[in-house]
Symmetry: C2
Subunit: 337 residues, 2 copies
Amino acid sequence: MRIVLDAMGGDFAPRVPVMGAVQAVKDFDVSVVLVGDEAVIKKELSKYSYPPDRIKILHAPQTISMEEQPSRALKKKDSSVHKGIELVKNGEADAFVSAGNTGAVMAVSLFTAGRLKGVERPAISTILPNLTGYTFLLDVGANVDCKPHHLLQFAIMGSAYAKYVLKEDNPKVGLLNIGEEEGKGNELAKEAYKLLSKAKEKGLNFVGNAEGRDIYSGKFDVIVCDGFVGNVALKLSESLAKILAKILKEEIDKHFISRIGALTLKPAIKGFKKRIDYAEWGGAPLLGVKVPVIISHGSSNAKAIKNAVRIAAEFAKSKLNEHIVEDLERFGKADGD
Amino acid sequence: MRIVLDAMGGDFAPRVPVMGAVQAVKDFDVSVVLVGDEAVIKKELSKYSYPPDRIKILHAPQTISMEEQPSRALKKKDSSVHKGIELVKNGEADAFVSAGNTGAVMAVSLFTAGRLKGVERPAISTILPNLTGYTFLLDVGANVDCKPHHLLQFAIMGSAYAKYVLKEDNPKVGLLNIGEEEGKGNELAKEAYKLLSKAKEKGLNFVGNAEGRDIYSGKFDVIVCDGFVGNVALKLSESLAKILAKILKEEIDKHFISRIGALTLKPAIKGFKKRIDYAEWGGAPLLGVKVPVIISHGSSNAKAIKNAVRIAAEFAKSKLNEHIVEDLERFGKADGD
């Protein structure tokens, strides 16, 4: 597999993407095309030894910043994102990875490569750790005003990703809601519940309503919601984990005996961090566009980038997009939809 | 102040409410009316010594369960919730506290006492700890489909509660959204932003959009959202804190040296728990109904109940409801609303 990696995307670009590319070609059976400012990438690459036939550079003179509006980003036709996605679209590479501006990557992917057949609204997803594994949540920000059948499409796409890329057998799909029982929720959730129930009759493993607590309970493999709720849930989760760690640290620092004891916790804290570390997952896909795209966290380290390259290769290899088109045809034609 | 306390509400009723009542009359200048099954309450009360003139019992033969549908609960006219709210409505007590079924308490309060003048949709709130204090979040479940001016009303009510009851000088109000800039968000958030901006010109301290991460950042004293998003945020927060603690404990148990060290952390963990403990806050108000009502967490301990009684007395003493009616008149008449 040949993965295009945005060398200019993320809080620590180009250093971290280049380091991640080097690690990826050493650890996995992939080759990487680093897209971005050629001179800058060359300089970074010169720090490492790596099999030279496995890393190429594609020059792209423009850069999209993390804060740039998607509408502005769309106009930068020579950006690393445009050039990278074009390469995949033209069949010269298999998937695209970026830790850059999510909204811009979404907009450029849509504009350059287009939507998959049957998809009305592509979605941004995220993978969140829970006690037993992970929960795959979508949409987390691409679609802030959704119709019920959009949530149905998210469920079908998310289920396919969990099955074909994350290798989850018969993934359990939930609808984010404010109560477990049927009939709970706002108008959107009530109507989406009906559509999902119909899709269940056709084979989608829709388990029912998931509450806020279920994002971390492990009872569901895939949870769908509109992008407004999903974005709030995602940002809330990231900040709460940080704030709890900070409060605990402040309290430990207050007590001498605890400061000493805390040293002995290092192995436990290391294990803890590994379990909640997004770097293990690498990134999460854009779903519903014609090219495989993985978006990594802006603050990704090299390990996260390396794993994102791996998951992008699995995305492409699994032929997920073909499965999504089939599944939309199979599950998505709910009556009255 | 004379506070009516639902002796039958909560996961550990009647034991915990009765214990909380005894602690409250000892610690604060309040008297408590315990409402519920008289024989059961008497038996519980007999375990304690307390000033007998400060705790009375009001018999209510019916009980509303935690799972009961509000529509069914409304029909139980002899429930502890009905009897308790009637007592406040009739002027024989100052405020009502329950750790019971939130939806039922909301429905009975509305039906029995009615809405405050100018309030279209009463709201359920919650208090969440952050690094420097707390964030007051509303609505968290009463109104799952909101109009922009409902969010404006939540902002006015929440700001008044923070100011008059929580004694926060000029509370900073935020609108829960998916980006900081004006123009971000779904249709509801965009329109609510405009109304809040107009109210700002009239003196409401609207600071701008709050993202999911700001629920814990401490940048806002009050954050408003529709009840669907708020409910997801609340349940997600509760579960994430628990799950992170559980993962940390599992990792500590894996390493002998960490198990030993963990013992020395006890004072720090105690401080940590105190800082994130909802029991310190006691409960959060129903806002927009004619009687002061505080709802405590279903799993409240006696300390939480005691503090809920205290905050209910402060709610009543502050004449918050009069301030809310005035503030709605002052800030709420946005043009075109």
